[in-house]
C-alpha cells in the first residue's frame, strides 16, 4: 500500500544570524506513515523529534530533503516546497497537528475552540458544537467546563481540548507531539482508546510519546532518532 506520507533524507538546522551559528536539529531522517497506522518517533531529548513534526506541518522550513504527502486526490505534494496557500489548504482539510500547548483566543468556549476546524470548513455552529461535545465527553472532559474558555483549565484538560480539536475534522494525517504528557493513567487510557478508534477509521498518525508503554501500546512501527552528535539515523525497528 502507498504511504500517505513519505519523508526522505529530511534535515533541519537553524541558522542564527545574531550569533553567527548553525544549530543542527535533525539529519537525514527517512520515514513513512500509512493510513490506519501509527508511526512513533522516539529518541533522546534534542534528537529533533518535534522538529520533524514541525517540518512536516511546515512550521519549520526544512533545510534539505523531501516531505511527500499524498492528498485526497492522490496527488503527491512536497510539503518542503509547496506554496503557502497549498499548505494552508492541506492544513484545513488533511493534516492536523496536536502540540503540547494550546493557543487560542481568550474569550472562546471550549466547545467553540474544539469545533473551530469544522467552522473553517463551513460547518454550522450547532453541528460543530455537537461534534465537539461528543469528543470532549469521550475524553472525559467534565461537561461543566464546556462553555468556559480553556485558558483557565488545568494542563491535562487543556491537552484534551487540544487533542479533540485535532481530531474533530477527521484529518487524514494527524501529527501528535506528546498528547498525553500531563494526563493521569485513567485519562491517558481514554486517549489511547480514542486514538485506536481513529486508527481503525483509517487516520494515519505520526506521534511522539512521553511514555515508552504508550509506544508499545499504540505504535505499529517505530522510528528511532539519534542525537545529532551521534551521527546517523538509527535503523528503523518494527514492533
Amino acid at each position: 500500500m502507498n504511504p500517505i506520507l513519505k519523508v526522505e533524507r529530511l534535515s533541519k538546522h537553524f541558522l542564527l544570524h545574531m550569533r553567527g551559528v548553525r544549530v543542527p536539529s535533525c539529519d537525514g531522517v527517512n520515514l513513512e506513515v500509512h493510513s490506519g497506522r501509527l508511526t512513533a518517533l522516539t529518541g533522546p531529548t534534542g534528537s529533533g523529534k518535534s522538529s520533524v513534526l514541525k517540518c512536516i506541518y511546515r512550521t519549520y522550513l526544512p533545510s534539505a530533503g523531501q516531505i511527500l504527502f499524498r492528498n485526497g486526490n492522490e496527488d503527491i505534494v512536497d510539503m518542503a516546497s509547496a506554496s503557502e496557500h497549498t499548505v494552508l489548504e492541506l492544513r484545513r482539510r488533511d493534516i492536523a497537528f496536536v502540540t503540547q500547548f494550546l493557543h487560542c483566543l481568550p474569550r472562546k468556549s471550549a466547545l467553540d475552540v474544539v469545533a473551530a476546524p469544522l467552522y473553517d470548513q463551513g460547518v454550522s455552529q450547532k453541528r460543530g458544537r455537537d461534534c465537539a461535545a461528543e469528543l470532549l465527553s469521550r475524553l472525559s472532559v467534565p461537561e461543566r467546563l464546556w462553555d468556559l474558555p480553556p485558558a483557565t483549565f488545568s494542563g491535562g484538560e487543556k491537552q484534551r481540548v487540544n487533542l479533540a480539536r485535532g481530531l474533530i475534522a477527521r484529518p487524514r494525517l494527524l501529527l501528535l507531539d506528546e498528547p498525553t504528557a500531563s494526563l493521569d493513567p485513567l485519562t491517558s487510557e481514554r486517549v489511547v482508546q480514542l486514538i485506536n478508534h481513529m486508527k481503525s477509521e483509517g487516520m494515519a498518525m505520526l506521534a511522539i510519546f512521553h511514555h515508552p508503554e504508550l509506544v508499545a501500546k499504540l505504535a505499529d512501527n517505530v522510528i528511532k532518532l539519534a542525537s545529532p552528535s551521534d551521527g546517523n539515523l538509527a535503523p528503523e525497528a518494527s514492533l
Binding site: 537553524f14 544570524h17 545574531m18 514541525k54 522550513l61 496557500h85 494552508l88 489548504e89 493557543h103
Partner: protein, 276 residues
C-alpha cells in the same frame, strides 16, 4: 481559492526622488532616507497576493512602511510606482489607473478601512449611528428606517449597546470607538477589509474582544483582510500568512507560524527574539 488582490512593485517615495533613492536605502543601508536627495522611501518594490477570505499580516517596527501599503490600497496615498489589481466578482480593477470617481466608488463600496486612530475613521461631530448611516447612504439604502435598522444591526454585531447609537463616538471608550469603526467599515459588506494597528493602545481584555470580533467577521462573512500590526501576538492569533517589512522592503514572507517559529531573515529573528 480565488485571488482578490494582486500587488506588484508598489513603491511610495516622499520627496523629489532621485535615481539613487532606491539603491541607497533599505535594510542593507538600515535607513529609508536617501542621503543624496533626502527623500523618504516609505515602501519600495512591494509585491503581494491576497486570496478570498484570508487574513494576511504585515508586521515590522514603526516607520517600516506597514501603513503606507494599506493607505495606497485605500487611495489615502498615491503610489510613486507599481500596479494593483482588485478582482471583484467578474470585474477586474487596476487600482492606480482607474479614474478618481471609480476609485471613490471602490473605497466607499468594496473596501473597508479601520484606522489606528478613531479620529481618522470616524466623524466625531455626528452620532455613532450617523457615522454608519453616512456610509450606508453611499450604497443602495436611502430609506431612513432601513438605514437606522441596518446601522443598529451592525452596531449590535460589533457589541456596541443600542442605547448609545445616538451618542457621538467622542464619548465612547477607545475599544468601543474601534468597534464603531469596524461596524462602519462593514456597512457596505466589503470583500476587502484593511486594518491598521486596530488594537494598539487598547488594554488586553479590550484587545481580545476586538480580535475575537475580527475572526468572527472572517468566519461569518468570508471577508479578506490585511492586518497591519507591530504586535506579534496579534499576528499569531489572526493571520495565516505574514510579510515582514524593514525600511520599506519585504525582508521575509511565509506562513505565520513559520515566520514566528523559524524566521529565516536576520531582522525577523531579531524581532521575534526581542518579543518573546
Amino acid at each position: 481559492m480565488k485571488k482578490i488582490l494582486e500587488i506588484r512593485g508598489l513603491s511610495k517615495v516622499h520627496g523629489h526622488k532621485c535615481p539613487l533613492c532606491c539603491d541607497f536605502t533599505g535594510p542593507k543601508h538600515d535607513t529609508n532616507i536617501c542621503r543624496h536627495c533626502n527623500s523618504i522611501v516609505a515602501i519600495h518594490d512591494i509585491s503581494l497576493d491576497l486570496y478570498e477570505g484570508e487574513i494576511l499580516g504585515i508586521m515590522g517596527e514603526s516607520g517600516s512602511g506597514k501603513s503606507s501599503i494599506v493607505k495606497t490600497i485605500f487611495f489615502d496615498e498615491i503610489p510613486t510606482d507599481g500596479d494593483a489589481l482588485f478582482f471583484d466578482n467578474n470585474e477586474q480593477y487596476s487600482l492606480f489607473t482607474i479614474n478618481a470617481a471609480r476609485q471613490r466608488w471602490l473605497r466607499n463600496h468594496r473596501f473597508g478601512m479601520v484606522y489606528q486612530s478613531p479620529h481618522l475613521g470616524l466623524n466625531f461631530s455626528i452620532s455613532a449611528g450617523g457615522n454608519i448611516a453616512e456610509r450606508l447612504l453611499m450604497s443602495d439604502l436611502f430609506h431612513y428606517g432601513d438605514i437606522r435598522k441596518r446601522a443598529l444591526e451592525l452596531l449590535s454585531r460589533t457589541e456596541v449597546p443600542s442605547e448609545r447609537m445616538d451618542q457621538s463616538p467622542g464619548k465612547f471608550s477607545g475599544g468601543m470607538q474601534q468597534r464603531v469603526q469596524i461596524a462602519k467599515a462593514l456597512a457596505t459588506r466589503p470583500p476587502l477589509l484593511l486594518l491598521d494597528e486596530v488594537t494598539s493602545g487598547l488594554d488586553l481584555s479590550v484587545q481580545a474582544r476586538i480580535l475575537d470580533l475580527i475572526l468572527e467577521i472572517q468566519r461569518d462573512l468570508g471577508t479578506a483582510m490585511i492586518v497591519v500590526t507591530h504586535d506579534l501576538g496579534v499576528v499569531r492569533l489572526l493571520t495565516g500568512r505574514t510579510i515582514v517589512l524593514k525600511n520599506g522592503r519585504i525582508v521575509e514572507h511565509g506562513l505565520t507560524d513559520q515566520v514566528l517559529e523559524d524566521p529565516q531573515d536576520a531582522y525577523t529573528q531579531q524581532l521575534v527574539a526581542s518579543a518573546l
